[in-house]
């Protein structure tokens, strides 16, 4: 869930590198989805507008605890971390190893923590 769809679209496409798939007007908001640039017929990520007040409480609690809303796999987390830091992205957790996986958590500027991870 995002607090501003226009801002979210900019962040998820221009910063994270997703590609816009659908933007269907739905009154005040839109059915807005993005997809991986490498798999544009794959799973679509809905940038869903925050329109249900109780969900805002849940989202804020997750955010304050640093818990990611979702996670995306990357091929090279060190490179992704450096690239995103260079674009001004704020990380709540720098790359941290956990067995065969390395995890990092970033702020998507729309009310969510997002995890990126690499499995070695």
């Amino acid at each position: 869930m995002v607090d501003d769809q226009k801002k979210a679209l900019r962040f998820y496409t221009e910063v994270l590198g997703f590609v816009k798939k659908r933007e269907i007007p739905m009154g005040e908001h839109a059915w807005l989805t993005v997809v991986s640039a490498e798999e544009q017929d794959g799973v679509e990520l809905v940038l869903e507008p925050m329109g249900f007040a109780p969900a805002r409480v849940f989202q804020k609690e997750l955010y304050d605890a640093g818990i990611p809303w979702t996670a995306f796999q990357v091929g090279d987390i060190a490179a992704a971390y450096e690239r995103l830091k260079g674009l001004g992205v704020v990380f709540k957790m720098a790359p941290t190893s956990m067995g065969p996986t390395t995890l990092a958590v970033l702020d998507d500027t729309c009310g969510n923590n997002i995890q990126i991870y690499q499995v070695s």
Binding site: A65, P68, T96
Partner: protein
């Protein structure tokens, strides 16, 4: 440090062996990734990792959720799908990804993907040609 990061660090310390042992398991998995098409001896991979066979099996499953043998099979079957989509004949795919016999290859393929290599290729190759995939 956030609550989540604390949990990640606690879980890591509780679940995974420290340092070198984890690196050896990762190196073994990467060896499988790079050599899956060859005749691989999983006992030999355990020896390369300087770990006893049973300890290796247990640690591999702890790290990746499957046994090394199952992981190798999955890597081979994923590559088989990729080659079938490129139009390679089934028997050539079988050899190219490291299976010894076509019968066992067909059986495993069907068990994993729900269709024989030939029928899977037929439907997906057609879809790809039609621009659906």
């Amino acid at each position: 440090m956030t609550f989540y990061e604390q949990q990640v660090r606690q879980l890591r310390d509780a679940v995974y062996p420290r340092g070198e042992l984890s690196r050896q398991i990762v190196a073994a998995k990467q060896y499988i990734d790079q050599h899956f098409a060859e005749e691989l001896d999983l006992n030999g991979i355990a020896r390369r990792a300087l770990i006893s066979k049973f300890h290796f099996l247990r640690l591999f499953k702890l790290h990746y959720g499957v046994t090394p043998h199952r992981y190798l099979t999955e890597v081979r079957l994923l590559e088989a799908r990729r080659l079938l989509l490129k139009g390679m004949p089934v028997t050539e795919v079988c050899v190219a990804v490291g299976f010894e016999g076509v019968t066992s290859f067909k059986g495993l393929f069907k068990r994993y993907w729900g269709a024989t290599p030939a029928s899977w290729k037929k439907s997906n190759f057609r879809d790809r040609a039609a621009g659906k995939v």
